[in-house]
């Protein structure tokens, strides 16, 4: 089955010079200031669909950006970075209007007890037994923190104890499985809204990962998740499962030596690297017989990181957020003699996540200390161009080129008017159809409407 990926990022937001504006009001201003083609803001709705097939809206007092559906880890990365730029540029526009900085952050906690999400979505076959997902996913997600952790200064939900940990999110999960995303969070989120034909598909909504600023880390974490799920769907993953995923999440996040013994279900222990290597080996064996986008690049990168973590964890500072952040913090600690409770370290942690001209990750890339991301031109193009190989193409083209004819736009359908003002519902229950292949490039809205249900794929 082909891969289908998308992410949702809730950005932190603050305007210290305007304490009268609450987070919801600020977020609404940022969404209104979106500078790329989009459906208009109407009445009280701050939900916009963009000309690149994405969605941009206010959720729980945060600006939230959902990428369009993509079919590889690199395409996902490019679209996520396009979202970062759209949000950062909108915030800069609001800053200029208000005459005071409005800052947006790509992180997952304020360090004071609040957490907000970075959600990865992966399409699964409906026939995949849910027990298999619920049984294995916690082990995948908990141990993946060594790859995708953004790093965090402070231990405990409210940073009650000083220190450093790998994951922004680990301390905010209280059970193995559950439906809630704002409290009593489960490592496995059971939400089942496929936004596609439910008979065929399930959209796995993964809420336990961190938003990352290193493009390599974003790419690797989502790619490894996709590989593991592909193997899982074919029953090709190892049996080893963590006995206590919730406890292990905190242990893994705090274990900077990668040697802690994690209890396995059914007895015995393993280190986080043992578990990751087991997953990697199984995914590699599975990928030999299955087409999977960028499988060999992902497996090589995954192996490179795991080998470096075995040999000398400081080596991954050129690729992974937590390690790059830890190297900076270590530099300041040594140079200025700072304890983990010094506010400057919490400041660097927060500044790491800040988007825009003060971005630290970009400075590290410029200095050659952090692996570069995709070409800037690719990211810029993705700000206004939908992926060509999913239904996001149809959604994006209608919004970008014919927004006056779009009455409503959702993930799996569009409500549009033709040139005679007649309404048409364009359904897209199959995310892999309604792509750019065979789509009419001229003839206007009437031709688009007529061709919608006819064309294959």
């Amino acid at each position: 089955m082909p891969l289908l990926l998308g992410t949702e990022t809730e950005y932190g937001i603050a305007a210290p010079g305007r304490p009268d504006l609450d987070a919801h009001a600020l977020s609404a201003l940022v969404v209104e200031a979106c500078g790329v083609p989009a459906t208009p803001v109407v009445e009280d709705s701050r939900h916009r669909v963009l000309g690149n097939g994405a969605r941009f809206y206010v959720d729980h007092g945060h600006p939230e950006y959902c990428t369009p559906e993509t079919t590889s880890a690199t395409d996902l990365l490019v679209h996520e970075l396009a979202g970062d730029r759209i949000v950062a540029e909108a915030a800069a526009r609001v800053s200029a209007e208000l005459g005071t900085p409005v800052r947006v952050y790509k992180n997952n906690t304020d360090g004071k007890g609040n957490s907000y999400g970075y959600h990865e979505n992966v399409l699964l076959r409906r026939s995949t037994p849910w027990e298999a997902v619920e049984g294995t996913l916690p082990t995948i997600l908990v141990t993946r923190a060594v790859l995708g952790g953004a790093g965090r200064v402070g231990l405990g939900q409210g940073s009650e104890r000083p220190g450093f940990q790998l994951s922004q999110r680990a301390d905010f999960f209280e059970r193995v499985s559950g439906l809630d995303t704002t409290q009593r969070r489960g490592i496995v989120n059971t939400r089942d809204e496929p936004h596609a034909l439910p008979r065929d598909w399930r959209r796995l909504h993964v809420i336990a990962g961190d938003a990352t600023r290193s493009p390599f880390a974003t790419w690797l974490a989502v790619g490894v998740l996709g590989l593991c799920l592909g193997a899982l769907e074919d029953g090709a993953l190892p049996r080893a499962r963590l006995a206590d995923p919730v406890g292990a999440f905190r242990t893994v996040s705090r274990d900077l030596t990668f040697t802690a013994a994690l209890d396995l279900a059914g007895g015995g222990t393993a280190t986080v690297l043992d578990v990751q290597e087991g997953l990697r080996d199984a995914a590699a064996a599975w990928a030999e017989g299955e087409p999977f986008a960028e499988a060999s690049e992902l497996l090589d990168a995954w192996t490179g990181v795991l080998d470096d973590l075995r040999a000398d964890p400081t080596r991954v500072a050129d690729r992974l957020d937590w390690a790059a952040k830890l190297a900076l913090l270590g530099g300041y600690r040594e140079r200025e003699g700072l304890g983990w409770d010094h506010p400057k370290l919490a400041q660097v942690d927060l500044a790491w996540a800040e988007l825009g001209e003060r971005g630290i990750a970009e400075r590290l890339q410029a200095a050659g200390r952090l692996a570069p991301g995709p070409a800037a031109a690719d990211v810029e193009r993705a700000m206004t161009t939908p992926p060509a190989d999913t239904r996001a193409h149809t959604r994006g083209v209608w919004v970008r080129d014919h927004v006056d004819h779009v009455v409503a736009a959702g993930w799996d359908s569009l409500l549009v008017r033709d040139s005679g003002r007649a309404l048409h519902t364009l359904r897209m229950p199959d995310p892999f159809r309604h792509t750019a292949a065979g789509a009419p490039t001229e003839g206007g809205v009437d031709r688009l409407v007529r061709s919608h249900d006819r064309r294959e794929p």
């Binding site: 603050a14 210290p16 987070a23 907000y116 999400g117 190297a327 660097v348 003060r358 200390r369």
Partner: protein, 59 residues
């Protein structure tokens, strides 16, 4: 191709044997310069910057 790899490898092997400490010092200076650069974008009031960042609500 093999010639180019050869040319790249030889000097690094020599340097390793000659003066590993010099390389390390260069890395330290490099990090120092980067920390200085980051200092220019960090606000002087670290405590205020951190305390002002409160995010109620969220998934």
């Amino acid at each position: 191709m093999s010639e180019r790899i050869q040319r790249q490898r030889t000097p690094s092997v020599e340097r390793e044997q000659e003066a590993p400490l010099v390389v390390k010092q260069a890395q330290v200076d490099d990090l120092d310069a980067l920390l200085d650069e980051i200092d220019t974008v960090l606000e002087s009031d670290a405590e205020g910057y951190v305390k002002g960042f409160v995010q109620k609500g969220g998934q």
